[in-house]
């Protein structure tokens, strides 16, 4: 930009409220509130971050600050607590505020970054970084990058490239690392370079039973299904039981349970229906569709039918 433009462009005051509306930040935050159930602390943190960035942007228009703030983040929480969904929203938010140019989200895991032989890792990591430029790079289960038990692991190489890019290309790319809380802590302790380059640590709490019930109703509504009143009670029991069993993944477990319930409902309709079915019958999940789950029979941690008993699937 020319110096002439700079001199004329600096305004004297900034109206934060109108900035908030016109930048589209308000819209993203509203969407976040409406589309995501629960997650109050996460929403609070995002609102704070948005406020910080908005003020920072205002300060920049007044010529008070010039540096790009560090925006790399870490999301820690159990599986199925909405980390990827929030990362998508975050990408939208950063895009509206002008901190990333394109606002797309590139979601990767260790396999996408780390190669299998010497000289394979660097091109692979760079390939991903090139795709993520101008957007947000979301590294799921980031701690797998670092394998302390194997000192010749290629993960270290990927980490070094990432650190370098996180430092040098702060204007071009925002990195979000996600994973279980305790393992993320270990990861950051072992890699102090990341800890110091990540400004925002956001923790995702588990959903409560009521929130999960709301989520299941919303998931069904999206596909034009609904729970019968008895099925709703069954779902409540299901959630309470499922939580105690291994491999519980919050909203993801609920999604899988509902997928199987729909399967059973289709099967039931197919086998029992005598006459023509109306829309209500086709879109109602009954109590028996949910109660048939193996979770109610003591539960198996693997969702696979034992070969001899096909009826329990």
């Amino acid at each position: 930009m020319s110096t002439e433009a700079e001199i004329t462009a600096i305004p004297q005051t900034v109206d934060l409220a109108s900035e908030y509306e016109t930048s589209g930040v308000a819209e993203v935050l509203r969407e976040l509130d409406e589309e995501l159930i629960g997650l109050a602390p996460v929403k609070q943190r995002i609102r704070e971050t948005a406020a910080l960035l908005l003020v920072d942007r205002a300060r920049r228009t007044l010529g008070l600050s010039h540096e790009t703030p560090t925006l790399h983040m870490s999301f820690s929480g159990n599986p199925g607590t909405g980390k990827t969904t929030v990362a998508l929203k975050m990408a939208g938010l950063l895009h509206r505020l002008g901190y990333v140019r394109k606002g797309h989200l590139v979601s990767v895991t260790r396999d996408d970054l780390v190669g299998q032989y010497i000289g394979h890792t660097a091109p692979k990591t760079k390939e991903v970084l090139k795709k993520a430029m101008g957007g947000v790079l979301f590294i799921d289960e980031a701690y797998y990058l670092y394998r302390p038990d194997n000192e010749r692991d290629y993960g270290q190489e990927a980490i070094e490239i990432l650190l370098q890019v996180m430092e040098n290309n702060r204007d071009d790319l925002v990195v979000i690392m996600a994973g279980y809380a305790d393992r993320m802590d270990q990861f950051f302790t072992a890699n102090p370079g990341f800890r110091s380059r990540i400004a925002h640590h956001i923790e995702f709490p588990d959903y409560t039973d009521t929130e999960l019930l709301n989520i299941s109703e919303r998931m069904l509504a999206e596909q034009n299904y609904r729970l019968s009143p008895a099925a709703e009670t069954a779902m409540k029991d299901y959630i309470a039981l499922r939580r105690k069993q291994p491999h519980f993944a919050n909203a993801r477990s609920i999604r899988n349970a509902l997928d199987r319930a729909r399967l059973r409902q289709a099967n039931r309709l197919f086998e029992t229906a005598k006459g023509p079915l109306d829309a209500a019958a086709l879109s109602t999940i009954g109590e028996e569709d949910i109660r048939a789950s193996r979770v109610f029979q003591g539960g198996l941690d693997v969702d696979r039918s034992p070969p001899a008993r096909e009826d329990t699937a």
Binding site: R101, H104, L129, K130, K131, G134, N169, L173
Partner: protein, 130 residues
Amino acid sequence: MRITQGCFSFLPDLDDQQISAQIEYCLQKEWAIGIEYTDDPHPRNTYWDMWGNPMFDLRDAKGVMMELDECRKVHGDSYIRINAFNDTRGVESVKMSFIVNRPASEPKIHMQRTDFVDRAQKYAWDVRPQ
């Protein structure tokens, strides 16, 4: 002698900001970007060396600029061009190609005229150092 090949070669050299803008245009058309270099700018030399693989699925010009910087570090004294490839079925060809780097002193293309049978003239061109 200044080599003129591809787009923009009669204009002054593009600076990085202008190159970025051109790449943005290509990406917005969903063309794949490839970087190629050579020390032989003869117009008949269509086979330039590839710098890495062509880049598909990029969203921002910065990714290409990173590769270009790397390429300039290694082949700063060569010709480097950027090709934009359209992979639409039925098109499948380079839609845009422009030079982004030239050696400090460019070779000249020398023309050799030879007499041939029955007073015919044959022409040949070769690249020679200045």
